[in-house]
Symmetry: C2
Amino acid sequence: MTEIKINDLNQVFNHQNVLKNINLEFKNKAIYGLLGNNGVGKSTLMNLMTERILPTSGYISINGHNIHNNDVALQQMYLLNEDDMYSPSLKVRQIFNLTNEIYGNFNFKFAKLLSKKFDLNLSLKFGKLSTGYRTICKIIVAFCVPVKYVLLDEPTLGLDANHRNLFYEALINTYSHNPRTFIISSHLINEISKLLNYVIFINNGKIILNNSIEIIMKNSFAITGSKDDVKQYTRNLNVIGKRNLGKLSTFYVYDHINNQTKSFNIKIEKMNLQRLLICLSNIGKEG
Amino acid sequence: MTEIKINDLNQVFNHQNVLKNINLEFKNKAIYGLLGNNGVGKSTLMNLMTERILPTSGYISINGHNIHNNDVALQQMYLLNEDDMYSPSLKVRQIFNLTNEIYGNFNFKFAKLLSKKFDLNLSLKFGKLSTGYRTICKIIVAFCVPVKYVLLDEPTLGLDANHRNLFYEALINTYSHNPRTFIISSHLINEISKLLNYVIFINNGKIILNNSIEIIMKNSFAITGSKDDVKQYTRNLNVIGKRNLGKLSTFYVYDHINNQTKSFNIKIEKMNLQRLLICLSNIGKEG
């Protein structure tokens, strides 16, 4: 079931086409990775989807209703990003209460459990929290607010490994108790990849890849051997990157392959999502 | 050969003992990971080692000479951290020239190569760079300045996967051409672990782990099976963490083990460095 639909969306800033004719659908109750390098338009897209900014052209709908000036639709979305929307003088506890007043049905029980796990003091003022703990406070709000669409723009930026681990565990926990749509951007692609159902990869304002993680992973390979063997084996395949180490070459392939390697002295391994996206973002560049 | 030695170092901020009686040695020409959660004292230690701040007690020496007020010693160190030391009106090219004037023998050739790889425009003013590109500019300076000790405090913060990949490649490149000591703090433990010779893990201001990565990895295991089997197999081992998934239990072990599993229906796998450090940082906490 398609819930959010993005139609022919364009966004121009300072004469630059940041998003180019984007068409996308987000299914209900799935976890999406919205991935791409810095500056490709991910944050812009999330700001457009929650109408924090308005598109140059095109529109976004939820269940067929345009979100523009549509409070009912916008009330179903929550965006966490680097903006701090809370007054620095508000205590964490007051932020939870305020969110409850705005959205209703705030999950105080889960918020308290998470605050304990993350070691977040509910009596501290938002302005007194470290950068990491401000993010943690915003993560807890995002997980406890009763919306159908949770957009998380770089939710782990600046978090240490222990806190990231808690974040991933909390996401699995809240999603399994209350399946809803999560749209997550992150530069920690290999870590987040384990949680995703779908991957949307943006490069230079365009959608380069949009598929389920299973299908993507089924087509992602690293082929290693002598350069001649690897070249020969991959001659009809979609080679998206190459690396040489001494006499060995590794060709990265995004394609359907069969494992008939008998006549070649090569090793076929899975390529992880991070390597795939690095290769895709470098296609067309030299070196 | 020990080059940097830290002797009985203590640091107190606001009546809090941030670093507690630290004793450490850094060998010449090795790559160290200085790892730990946010707020454990890693940045403080790096600031002390480059005398940007002074210790409450204890001292640091290079080749037996105290670094205090010792310009010859301090000239051999370079620290990259989140502080921006350059005037926003300086162009990248001017920053390279300025570094050459201060330290001499700046590697302009490598700086130009890296700028091209990272797509950093030498004519842009530092103040006009995005956060990511400011970091990239500082990384290039750190790799091209002719010092014996390069300290990198969170050099990949905010970099996307593609730029992090270029950073790791550049580090391998510069280290292999000119082996020198790198001391690197990072929250992306699994990514950085492939580059490290030694790991120093700090928790609550104390050194918890200090060893070569080979030895650490040789002792890091995840044991999975039924709870009874896993409990029985690990009864005399150093269990540092546990996880349950349905009927299966995984116990994380930091110990020497032999692989005699015949009488147990268990699976023994390697535990990665990130999981090890998460476990070590949570010892003593409930849950």
